[in-house]
Symmetry: C2
Subunit: 288 residues, 2 copies
DNA sequence: ACGCTCGATAAGCAACACTGATGGGGTGGG
DNA sequence: CCCACCCCATCAGTGTTGCTTATCGAGCGT
């Protein structure tokens, strides 16, 4: 289970082609073929069907493991590089789009920081691999409960902000006039599925006992404006933090009364922040 | 970052000796020396001080990463072996000592299953590496909230049981006569530290805002009887699930009223349980 | 001062990991 | 229908790697 073999396996699986993977990795096709053969011999089972190239059941399992494994490997390497030498360059902050509430925005420095808006899972990854000094992740949680994060590497988190959530409904929706809504009443509606933009549909489904919250349009990317436009056009409902759920023409944002969940933002960093990162971290947590 | 190099690094760090690690791994001392040198060159920084052999700061970081990394590697290998061929042998159930409540015990089959009582962290590890078909882990949680588990590999969990917790106090303790106690009132007392037996002192401290709950005697191993004996002898307090906190002579178990936490037991398994494992899983979850 | 142990280093050798070339199987165009 | 093409598997060749044995210098206890 050499990491190199793992890396070629994932690219082959992704591109569904030995030759294309070889080109991308800078190997010959022969080498890639031998890599896969070595992996299959090591694990004692075929991982890919040839012609067409597709993962077998065992290969599916490996695909699921290989990503986090390689990520953790990079995280370890980055962590060590970080402790070995802290060059302290320009500060970068990775964040999900919905984590940028008013409190956070207020405490950003006027200049000198770069912001990377990423999908939800990519934020911890960026922080552990050194792609960002600090990260902001958000999610739904019971009040004052911590978020559940993938522990790709040792991370420390601190709560930064909590705010109520609202449902974004088209103005024509029968419940659009309500002052507050229970999520359970909307379980049978169609919901927008936008995992990159921080809309955790599976999380809602879990809160509801695994039922309901069927997805309508799936929306990839991290742009919130498109999402609200979709909701206004009646393509599905969306659950957003109060500050992000602005009422645009054609849509209204109604507070959620039940269950008692809040939109929570957490600051995540690897190790102990130093220099400019420490200043920003202090400013961000002072809001809370 | 070859896994082999990682493995030799962790054994060298653990044994604090190149030669001893070489003996344990079946290499020559020279090979181990070259392994470490290769790692250090790859990462561009010294990892160990020689004479005496001890990890540097970078080495400490690596130690923290290497364990989960190797565990996940084993988990991937075991997972693939599992999907490739399901031999379905004798069923083994890994469990923490305090997870074995009355409900769980009642639904165990009369024979044919083996039980492995392990420290808390070892249970998920055993399940993902195939050392056990099912696992039972326990911990403190808000009612009906899931536990926080290390995600060494994709695991599925299901709640099995919840029960109130009690504090085990020596009979001579000033609060021993109370009908119920608030944990906050006991933050300044000395507590038994028994991580293997499922007494999460750090978790209590976190609930209390990071303060208090100083450890007294540290008790390694998974034996609950020793723990209650220690508590009865006045060496420190212990927080246990109601069914485990039997009142022995010299000690009383008092319910906890605040904060509202329960002792929760979860069934954990990798993939979809089949055969005898599925039967046991169904029996266990039927209790909940 | 001596002997012992520990880790680093040098040299040798076998196994490995690539490359380039070749072959067989499937597919689409002429 | 057959040929040309693309794909992956396999083979032989070669430079590199990874391990071993052997030797050395340094610290430590006697």
């Amino acid at each position: 289970m050499d990491p190199h073999l793992l890396r070629t396996y994932v690219t082959v699986a992704r591109l569904a082609s030995f030759s294309a993977a070889a080109r991308e990795l800078g190997y010959t096709q022969s080498a890639v073929s031998q890599h896969i053969a070595a992996l299959e011999q090591d694990l004692g089972t075929p991982l890919l069907t040839r012609r067409p190239v597709a993962p077998t059941a065992a290969g599916e399992r490996l695909s699921e493991h290989a990503g986090p494994l390689l990520l953790r490997l990079d995280a370890a390497r980055a962590d060590i590089a970080r402790t070995a030498a802290a060059p302290e360059q320009g500060l970068t902050l990775a964040t999900t789009p919905t984590a940028l509430g008013p409190g956070v925005l207020a405490s950003l420095p006027a200049a000198g920081a770069t912001l990377r808006v990423l999908p939800r899972d990519a934020v911890p990854a960026a922080v552990v691999t050194g792609g960002a000094d600090l990260g902001l992740v958000d999610g739904l949680a019971a009040p004052s409960d911590p978020l559940r994060l993938p522990d790709v590497a040792p991370l420390t988190t601190r709560g930064v902000a909590e705010e109520p959530v609202r449902v974004l409904l088209p103005a024509t929706h029968p419940l659009a006039g309500r002052l507050a809504l229970r999520l359970g009443d909307l379980a049978d509606a169609r919901w927008l599925d936008a995992p990159d933009a921080g809309l955790p549909l599976d999380r809602l489904r879990a809160l509801n006992g695994g039922r309901g919250f069927r997805p309508s349009v799936r929306c990839e990317g991290t742009d919130l404006r498109s999402l609200t436009a979709l909701a206004a056009a009646g393509h599905g409902l969306a659950l957003l933090p109060a500050s992000a759920a602005v009422s645009v023409p054609g849509a209204v944002a109604v507070p959620v009364s039940e269950p008692r969940v809040v939109h929570r933002v957490e600051l995540v960093h690897a190790g102990v922040p130093a220099g400019a990162a420490a200043v920003l971290a202090a400013a961000l947590t002072a809001v809370a």
